[in-house]
Every structure is written in structure tokens, then in C-alpha cells.
Symmetry: C2
Subunit: 444 residues, 2 copies
């Protein structure tokens, strides 16, 4: 009754409204909104949700409702939703499925979530090479009945279910009806192995502008297909993870507005504390040069300027290399070319900043003489240190992603804060060493 | 003759080899490799290249060859390639086209490159509502002849060419042949206006798991369609731009390994110099506290530690907010909720770092007493400043993307280096103010 009353009250609720509001609603509001949608619109709405949201909706429903909704979904999406369910609730969910689907879902659950095998849909249109185009169209029609996933290719298999070729529906439509499928199909099919990482699958699909790619085992048996719409989600997810690592934290496992405060503290506090511990070395380094600072306080003034320049140039280098690696433009074996280039870049950029710094000190001194009689020597110190620090920054920033990948970590962890922390300590040492050399006998 | 000799020598060159090597080849090597491919494979290879690479290949060919290759391309891709050509060479390129295509290309060039209108293909399959399914299939077959772009939807238009609905080829295949298209088509078509930003188009296609979206004007006339394969490229491009901005530089306009050194210096040097000028304020701030430093050199030791913590926490906050905005999880009107959350987060994280810092000073002093008799007061100064600096960092980092978007800039420009620069100056002021309050009468 309450629901019906609300229904009348808010009868204008459209799927667009709900989609718009979704990210900022809490679990109950989402469920309430979902149940206010007319059945047909609710179906489309449900199937377009992320796995996490689908799991949330399903958990909020009664077992009977859950059954009708889970039966709408293709097996690969059910497997993804299972991954979001608490372990003890999974078998209840699978209990709602018919035998074939349950077998398919269980097979999918055996693959890692981020591999081609974990991403694929085991249902796809199959043809035999000796069928005519006309028979093929009829046959595909029959197979397609009752399938939800959009499919635009049919795969041609031999007697042992091995892949021979692929035809698009468009090819079928355009070909003469009495031609055998064998003559219409393309035989140089792009395929992926079951254990290929999802990022590599995404790259392949993007590169070849195809709508789906078949997943095959070593004997070219087709295990399923990965479609372009799954891939867009994957790309977005991976990019979000890279962004978060690049910001100097662990990747969050929920959207920013939804994640619990405590969980976010953990994800961010861990890296922040680690960076803080690393950065403590700057205090040690500064303590080592305490006498120099005491004798020439003017040196302390430029410490933040110098070390931040190293961090900034390192951040540029690491971000460029990380992204170029993700796009496949730079590979491990290119490391030497990249580092040479970044060293040259660092020397040029360092000279630029050094010149600006020199000018700043020189001109400022003419207006308000706060840098003392040896201000020209101080300006030279700043000039020289900046070249060293910026070049060290670009080299460190470019080496780090290679090192991380080499030892099996995600290069995206070479975040701006991480690089800056590494560069800060060395930057101080470079600065004070240059200062010792230039100012010995005058200020020091 | 030379070419034929090379052909024999390297006759194993496959499109895969060339694609693999492409990013690291220079212009001449690319052209040479391309011309070594057998014609049919070269066609697929060419059509899968990015617009930039296609333009490069076309420019390297003779006018006669250029003509045959450009005629292979759909109008939207030709328009993109035109954008990569030097202005004076464009009319020569368009001269190779037939009249219809030239008109289409010119119409596309009138749109901004990053809008739906600039992305769309003006060729798509059109149907009338009163056709039967059988007629529709025949009609689509005829229209599809000679088109290159893969198309999987046909759009149903009324007498004035306004959009009535959409049918997928799959729907046509599955429907009874004598049904009118009107009864098979879906009428709640998702459409986009011509001037919609490409990122928004990408989000829509990803969200609805569709293969193409029609671009319509205010009267629902269909101007063209944007297909999913164009969108994947767009997503990748936008993400690369965001990454580079996030790294504290201008977005590069070429892949990392290809861009000229001089051009990269410009793209990176500009931001680096701007950040450097901003960071100079730290020298001014430090000069303002010069007396305090001279009296208590121990204060200088923690300057890098304190300000980098503010920068790191700010970098986390800005990266999170930038990405959540790009995904549509956070909108402009959420600013107050986000900022409150980040303030709380900053206070918690600041207390955590402050406690670590306090402990570090306390314990270190027991081992080697370098911090003097007032070390506990120094430790309290560090503790208190870290809470202030980290909270200021998270708030600045989260406000900045909102401000940038509000005034029409890309929020991704709120990079870690930019945030750090803003936070550094204020961090110094917070630190020395806390120090003045805590140490007045003892060290100061």
C-alpha cells in the first residue's frame, strides 16, 4: 500500500531520473527507486547496471523476485555478480538457474576475473562451413532466440568444434543465399587465449575495431566470446585504478561517493604513511646539513623551491612513461632510449628553471637586498642545483615505471608522490653539495 | 626494383609484425613497411590505423596512390585525416573524392572535432516504417553495398527524415518477414545532439551497451551515427590527455616515442616554469620566517617533511575527485558534500601522520639527542602542523577540480604538482605559525 501510494506520488520516475540519481542514493533508496520502475523499463535498467549494483539490487529482493531477475542475465554477467556476492549466498543464487546456465557460470567462475576467460560469454552463434548462407541465416535465427547478449558475428566450427572462420551478420545479409558459408567466412580470425589479461584483450579489440573476439584454447576450441561492451567497462575500470595509484594511494574498490569513510582512510592512510616514512629521510638529510644552515640561513629559504622542482619534473616523466606503457607505445626493452631522452630533457628543463631562479634572486636583490652580499653566489648555487635536481627527477621518474614492471608490479604505482619522495632526499643532498662547492670560503 | 628485392628478402612481413613495430619506426620505415604488405592485408591495416598515422601514410604516397587509398575510407575518417593534414594540402586530398563524399566531409569539418557532430559518420542504413521486414532486409542489403563502416542498426525515418525508431539487424533476422518495420522497431531510441561533447557520448554508449548512437538536430533529423569503435579511440585519447595533465604538463599531441624533443620541451617546460614561479612564493614565505629559522635551525629540518605531506594528501584528494567527475560519479552540485568529507579525511590522516612524526622525534631523541632540550615542544609543533597541513591539502585538492570545472577548465589540470605548489606556501605558514604559538618563550 505504501509503495502504491508512493507510486502515484512519484509516478514520473523514469529510468533516466534513477540512473542520474543512482550514484548518490543509498542502498534502500536505490531499491525503492528500482521497484518503482515499470517492469519493462526496469529490465533494461537492471541489465545496464554494473555488476556491483546488480548484486546490490539482487540481495535486496525476495528469493522469488531474485529468481526472475537472475534468469534474465547472460552467464558471464551472472558470474560477475556471483563475485560480488558474499560466498555463503552464492549457492542460493546459483540454485535459481537452470542446469545449463549453472554449468556455464561455474566454468566461468574458475577463471580469474581479469582474464579473457573470466570476461567471456560462453554463448555465441555457431555455424558449419558446409551450410549455405540461407541455411546459416535460419540457423542463426534459431540460435539467437532467447539470448540476451547482442551478437553480431557467427563463428564457423569444424566437426571437432575447432574454429575455422567468422562471418558477420552483415556478410550473411549481403551474400548470395546459395553460397556455402565456407566461401563467405573470413579465415584470419583474431583470437585470444583464455588466460590473456583483460587489458591486452581491450587493446586488441580497440586496435582492430571489432565487436567481439573469440577466446580459444590451445587446440583452437572456442570457449566463448568477449564483446566490445564488456571491454568498455574494463577499460574504464583499469583507468580508474591507474588514476588512483597515480594519485599516490591504493586503488579504491568502490565509487568515491559510496565507499565507507573507514575504508577510504585505510586505502589512503597506508600509502600516505609509507610516503611519510620515506620523506622522514629529508629530516635526516637536513640534520646532516644543520651546520651549513645555521651558518647560512639563506640556504634554507630555497629548500622547498629546489626539491619541489625535482618532484614536478619527475612526476611529468613518470606519468608519461606509465601511460605510454599502458598504451603499448613503450615496452620494457625501450628503457635505455627513454632514459637517455629523459636525461637530455631534464638537463634542458633544469637549465630553464635554473635561469628563472637565477634571475629571480638577482632582480629581487636589487629591490630588497635580503640575500646578503654573496647573493650572486647564492644565485649560482640555485642555478646549478636546479639543473642537477631536475635531471635527477626526470631520470628517476622514467626509470621507476620500468623497474616496477620488471619486478612484476603495476608501473602506475610510480605516482607523483612516490617519485617526489625519492627525489626530495637526493635533491637536498645535491643542493647542499653544490652549495658547499660554491660557497666554501665565503658563506660556509 | 629495389622494392621488389626487399620484398623477396623480407617476404615474411605480416601486418602483425608491422603493427607491433609501428610505434618505434620513423616515417620512412613505416611507409616502407606499409608498401611491403600485400594489397588486401594493407587495406585492413590502413583502415585500422589512427587518423594521425593514416595522414602520415597518405602524405608519403604519390597523388595517384593517395587517391585509391583515400577512396577506401568512410567520410568521418576522411574528415579526421583532413584535420591532421597541413591546411594547404587539404584541398588536394578532397579533390580525390567523389562529389557526395566531398560534401559529407566538408559538412563534418564544420563541427568541432571533439563533438558528436565531428565524430559521426553521415552514412547509415535508413528504413521507412511501412516496409515489411523482408523488404527492409533487401533494402538494407542494397544500402550496405560498398559501405565500409560496420553497421548493425538501421534507423527508421518518417517522410521528413525525422527519427521514428531503430531496428538492429538481429531484430530483422529474428522477426517474421511480413511484419511491418513499424512493429519491430524500438521507439525509445537513445540519441545525442550534434554539439554534445565526445566524452559524454562515450559515457552514454558505455552505459547503455549499444553499438551506435544517432546524432540528431532539434527537429530529430538524423545527421549521422557515432559507432562504438570510434568511441573506444576517444576514450583512450581523453584518458591519455587526463593522465598528462595529471602529471603536471600540457597534453602532448603525439605518442611519447614519436614527439619531437623540442615540442616536448615546450609542452613540459611551460607548466614546469609556471609551477616554479608559483613555488617561488615558498622562498618569500621562508624569508619572512628567516629570524625564526636563525633562532631555531631545528625548525628548518622538518620543512620538506611537512610540506610534502600536504602535497601528497592533496594529490590523493584531487586525483579521486577528477576521476569521479570524469565518470560522472561526482557532479558540480556535490561540491559541499565532497569538501566536508575531505576535511574529515584530512583531519584523520593528518592525526595519523602527526602521531608518526611525534613518535619519530621522540624515539630518535632517545638514541641521538640532536633536537635539543625542547624536543618535546618541537614534536608537538610537528604533530599540530601536520594535522593542519594535511587537512588543508585534502580540502585544496578536492576544491580545485570543482573550481576549474566551474570556470570552464578541465578539472584534470588540478594535477599533483599544481596542488602541491598551492599547498606548499600555506603549509609553511601553518607550520611556522604553529611553531610560534608552541615555542614562544622557549626556542623562539
Amino acid at each position: 500500500v505504501v509503495e502504491r501510494a508512493e507510486d502515484t506520488q512519484r509516478e514520473q520516475l523514469t529510468p533516466e531520473d534513477l540512473r542520474e540519481a543512482w550514484p548518490v542514493l543509498d542502498v534502500e533508496e536505490r531499491l525503492e527507486g528500482f521497484q518503482l520502475l515499470p517492469r519493462e523499463e526496469a529490465e533494461d535498467f537492471f541489465l545496464e547496471l554494473t555488476s556491483r549494483s546488480q548484486a546490490m539490487v539482487l540481495q535486496g529482493l525476495s528469493p522469488r523476485e531474485r529468481r526472475t531477475w537472475v534468469r534474465l542475465m547472460p552467464p558471464d554477467d551472472i558470474a560477475d555478480v556471483c563475485g560480488e556476492f558474499p560466498r555463503e549466498a552464492r549457492s542460493e543464487l546459483c540454485g535459481h538457474l537452470d542446469d545449463t546456465t549453472r554449468r556455464e557460470v561455474n566454468a566461468l567462475l574458475a577463471y580469474a576475473e581479469d582474464e579473457a576467460g573470466g570476461l567471456m560469454n560462453p554463448r555465441f552463434a555457431r555455424l558449419r562451413p558446409e551450410m549455405t548462407v540461407e541455411e546459416a541465416i535460419l540457423y542463426v535465427r534459431r540460435q539467437a532466440q532467447g539470448k540476451l547478449e547482442t551478437i553480431y558475428y557467427a563463428y564457423v566450427l569444424d566437426g571437432e568444434q575447432r574454429l575455422l572462420g567468422v562471418v558477420s551478420f552483415r556478410d550473411l545479409l549481403l551474400a548470395r543465399g546459395d553460397k556455402p558459408v565456407r566461401e563467405v567466412m573470413q579465415t584470419d580470425v583474431i583470437t585470444v587465449p583464455e588466460e590473456l589479461d583483460q587489458e591486452a584483450v581491450a587493446r586488441l579489440i580497440a586496435q582492430h575495431d571489432i565487436l567481439a573476439v573469440p577466446v580459444v584454447d590451445a587446440e583452437r576450441h572456442v570457449k566463448g566470446i568477449v564483446t566490445v561492451d564488456d571491454i568498455i567497462d574494463v577499460v574504464q575500470e583499469e583507468v580508474t585504478e591507474d588514476f588512483q595509484k597515480l594519485g599516490g594511494m591504493e586503488a579504491l574498490d568502490a565509487p568515491y561517493m559510496r565507499i565507507a569513510f573507514r575504508r577510504m582512510v585505510k586505502k589512503r592512510g597506508g600509502w600516505l604513511a609509507a610516503l611519510f616514512l620515506g620523506e622522514m629521510l629529508t629530516a635526516t638529510a637536513m640534520a646532516y646539513f644543520e651546520d651549513e644552515i645555521a651558518r647560512a640561513v639563506v640556504l634554507a629559504l630555497f629548500v622547498p623551491l629546489i626539491i619541489s622542482s625535482g618532484g614536478n619534473s619527475g612526476s611529468q616523466a613518470s606519468t608519461l612513461v606509465i601511460r605510454a606503457m599502458a598504451l603499448g607505445e613503450v615496452r620494457l626493452r625501450d628503457w635505455w632510449r627513454v632514459i637517455r631522452r629523459e636525461l637530455a630533457m631534464g638537463l634542458v628543463l633544469g637549465t630553464l628553471l635554473g635561469a628563472i631562479g637565477f634571475l629571480r634572486i638577482f632582480l629581487w636583490q636589487q629591490v630588497s637586498p635580503i640575500y646578503g652580499e654573496h647573493y650572486l653566489l647564492v644565485a649560482f648555487t640555485v642555478f646549478g642545483s636546479l639543473i642537477g635536481v631536475v635531471a635527477f627527477g626526470t631520470v628517476t621518474g622514467s626509470v621507476l615505471p620500468f623497474l616496477l614492471r620488471r619486478v612484476g608490479f603495476d608501473p602506475a604505482s610510480a605516482s607523483a608522490p612516490f617519485v617526489a619522495t625519492l627525489v626530495d632526499v637526493t635533491g637536498l643532498i645535491i643542493y647542499f653539495s653544490v652549495a658547499s662547492a660554491v660557497l666554501r670560503g665565503t658563506l660556509l
